[in-house]
Amino acid sequence: MLSIRNLSIDYQLPGAALSVLRDVSLDFPIGQVTAMIGESGSGKTTLTGAILGLLASNARVRGGQLLWKEENLLGQSPERLRKFRWREASVVFQAAQGAWNPTLTIGQQMLDTCVDHGFPQHQAKREELLRKVRLSPERVIQSYPHQLSGGMRQRALIALSLMLDPELLILDEPTTALDLITQSYIFDILAEIHQEGLTMILVTHDLAAVARLADRVAVLYAGTVVEVGTAQQIFEQPQHPYTQVLVRSCPDVHGGDVVRGAEGLPPDLRQRPPGCIFASRCPEVMEKCRTEVPALVNDVACWRRPV
C-alpha cells in the first residue's frame, strides 16, 4: 500500500540544518496496523507530515521516495496532494482542543471537506460515523467544539477522518491527552474500525496502545529505523538494545522489576555521529558501532546481532 524508501529530511534552522530523518525505509502492508514508536523528537510526526505533504515551510527533503501504490508522492503538485489528503489518506491529530475550528459547528466542519472534494453532502454518512464512534448525532452536529468534552472531541475527530472512506488512516498520538477510561474506549472503536480492513499507522510512545492494536511495530530512534517486527516479537524478544531499553522502561502493571530508562541524552541531530546512532547510549557498544552505520538486516540494525 505505502512504502518509504531511504527518506531523509532536514529542517533548515538559522545557520544549521537539523537532519530529522536519515535514510528511513518502511513498508506499510494493506489491512495492517503498523505502529511507529520512539521517544519524542525521533521524527515520527515529521514522517506523518511527509506522507501527507504537510511539512513545515523550512523542511528540506534530502532524498528518498514515498511510494503510494507505485506513485512517488514527493514532488507532486499541491493540487494532487490536496486531492490525496483525506480522500486517500486521512489523519487523526493529537491535540483535541485545538483541532476543531472554534467558530464552526462540528457538523459544518465535517461537511466542508466533502464539498471541497466534490462529494455530495451526505448527512446520512455523517450520522452513521458519529454513531460508530458512540456519539449522538443530534447533540454533536449542532454544537460547537468547546461544548464537547476532550474524549468526545477526539472521537468526533476519528469520525471526521473516515468521512471520505480513506484507504489509509494515520493516528498521531490519538490517546495521549485523555484519561485511561476514555483511552480504552477509543481503543475499542479503533479496533472495530480495523476489523473492517482499514490500513492504519499508529504513531505513539504509549506502548499499551501498541500492544492493544498494532500488528507490526517499527522502532524509531533519532530519525533512523532501528528495528521492525510483529508486536509479539518486539515485546517478547526485542533485538535491538534500544528496543530492549524502551520495552523495559514501560512500567509493567503486574509489578515487574524496577524501571530503568536509558542513560545519557539523545544525540545532537545537527552533527550526526558516524556509525550507529544509538552508539553513545548503547550498553553493548563496541568499536565497530562507532565507525560504521549498521544496515537494516532482517529487521534489525545492529552489529551485535548475528547476520
Binding site: 504537510l54 489528503r85 475550528n101 467558530t103 471541497d116
Partner: protein, 323 residues
C-alpha cells in the same frame, strides 16, 4: 445584557457630568470679553454690561454650578441643547445638519480602510515569507509617521493643485443643488475622494498590521493544520478558518474605532472645508461656544459608548466560545 446597557448609560451620565464641569472650568471667560465690548460701546457699568452679555449668550455662568447643572439636565431631557452663542441658532439644528456629513465621510473612509487593510493583513500573514510583509511594515510605518495634518495638505497639493483632478474644498460643487440628482451625487463623491484618502491611507496601514498580528496567532492553531490536512481549497481555509477566527478581535475594535471617529476628525474636516462635527468642534473651541461644544461632546460621548456596546455585542454574537 441589560446589565451591560445599564452600565453604559451610567458611563454616559458620568462622562456627561465630567465634560459639563470641564467645559465650565475652561480658562478664558467669554462673558468677560463680551462685557468689555458692551462696556466700550454703551458706556454702562461693568456689572450691567455683564448682565447684558449674559442675555446675549443665553446661559448664565455666574449661576451656581449645581443649579446650572440641574438646569442643563432638565433641558437635555426635553432634547433642548440650548442656542449656540456664535451662530445664534439652536445647537440641535447645527448637529442635525453636521451629522450626516461626518457619518458619510467616516463610514466611507473607515469601511474602505477596514476592508482593504484587513484583507491585506490576512494575505500577508497567509503568505508568511516573500516581499509582501516587509513592504507592508514599511508602508504602515511611512504613512503613520506622517502626521495626518501634513498628509492632508500634501494630498491637497498633489491632487488638487498640481494635477487639478480633484476639487479643493467643500462637500459638493456650488453649482449643484442638493437633491437626488446625478450632478449632485457625482460632485459629492468627487469632493469626498480627498478626505477619504487622507483618512484611509494611514488607517489601511494600521488595520493591516493589526490583522496580520491577529492572523499570525491564529495560524499557529492546530485547526489550521487539520484544515490543510482535510484537503480543503485554499480560499475556503483563508475564509472560514483563518478569516473567521482572525476577524473576531478586529470586528470589535472596528466598532470601537467607529464610535471614536464619529466625533469627527477636526483636522481633515477643517482642511477640506467639510461641514462635519469635527469642523464645528474646531470652530466652537476657537470661540469658546459652550452650548455647541457641550452638544458636540455629548454626541461624541454617545457615539463612543454605542460603539463600545456594539463591539461587546458583536464579539459575543460572533465568537461562540463566549456564548
Amino acid at each position: 445584557m441589560r446589565k451591560r446597557i445599564a452600565l453604559s448609560l451610567v458611563t454616559v451620565w458620568v462622562a456627561l457630568t465630567f465634560t459639563f464641569l470641564l467645559v465650565r472650568q475652561m480658562p478664558g471667560d467669554v462673558l468677560h470679553n463680551l462685557a468689555i465690548q458692551i462696556l466700550n460701546t454703551q458706556g454702562v457699568t461693568y456689572q450691567q454690561a455683564r448682565e447684558m452679555a449674559k442675555l446675549q449668550i443665553c446661559y448664565d455662568p455666574d449661576e451656581p454650578i449645581m443649579s446650572q447643572y440641574v438646569h442643563y439636565l432638565s433641558n437635555l431631557a426635553h432634547g433642548e441643547l440650548g442656542r449656540s452663542t456664535t451662530y445664534r441658532i439652536p445647537v440641535v439644528t447645527i448637529l442635525k445638519s453636521a451629522l450626516p456629513w461626518t457619518v458619510f465621510i467616516t463610514f466611507m473612509a473607515a469601511g474602505f480602510s477596514f476592508v482593504v487593510g484587513t484583507t491585506l493583513g490576512l494575505w500577508t500573514a497567509w503568505r508568511r515569507g516573500g516581499w509582501l510583509e516587509p513592504a507592508l511594515t514599511l508602508y504602515a510605518t511611512l504613512t503613520q509617521a506622517i502626521p495626518d495634518f501634513l498628509l492632508g495638505v500634501m494630498l491637497l497639493l498633489v491632487f488638487g493643485v498640481r494635477l487639478q483632478w480633484l476639487p479643493l474644498r467643500g462637500a459638493y460643487g456650488a453649482d449643484t443643488d442638493p437633491g437626488l440628482n446625478f450632478a449632485f451625487v457625482a460632485s459629492l463623491l468627487q469632493h469626498a475622494i480627498l478626505p477619504v484618502m487622507a483618512f484611509s491611507i494611514p488607517a489601511i496601514g494600521s488595520w493591516a498590521l493589526t490583522a496580520k498580528a491577529s492572523a499570525t496567532s491564529v495560524l499557529g492553531e492546530d485547526y489550521l493544520l487539520v484544515a490543510r490536512a482535510k484537503g480543503l481549497k485554499p480560499w475556503r481555509i483563508l475564509r472560514d478558518y483563518l478569516g473567521r477566527n482572525a476577524m473576531l478581535p478586529l470586528i470589535s475594535s472596528l466598532a470601537t474605532s467607529l464610535g471614536a471617529l464619529l466625533g469627527g476628525s477636526m483636522l481633515i474636516e477643517t482642511l477640506f472645508g467639510f461641514p462635519g462635527l469635527g469642523y464645528f468642534l474646531a470652530q466652537s473651541i476657537g470661540t469658546r461656544d459652550y452650548p455647541l461644544m457641550q452638544g458636540l461632546f455629548l454626541l461624541s460621548t454617545l457615539a463612543i459608548v454605542t460603539g463600545n456596546l456594539l463591539a461587546e455585542i458583536l464579539s459575543r454574537r460572533l465568537d461562540p466560545r463566549s456564548k
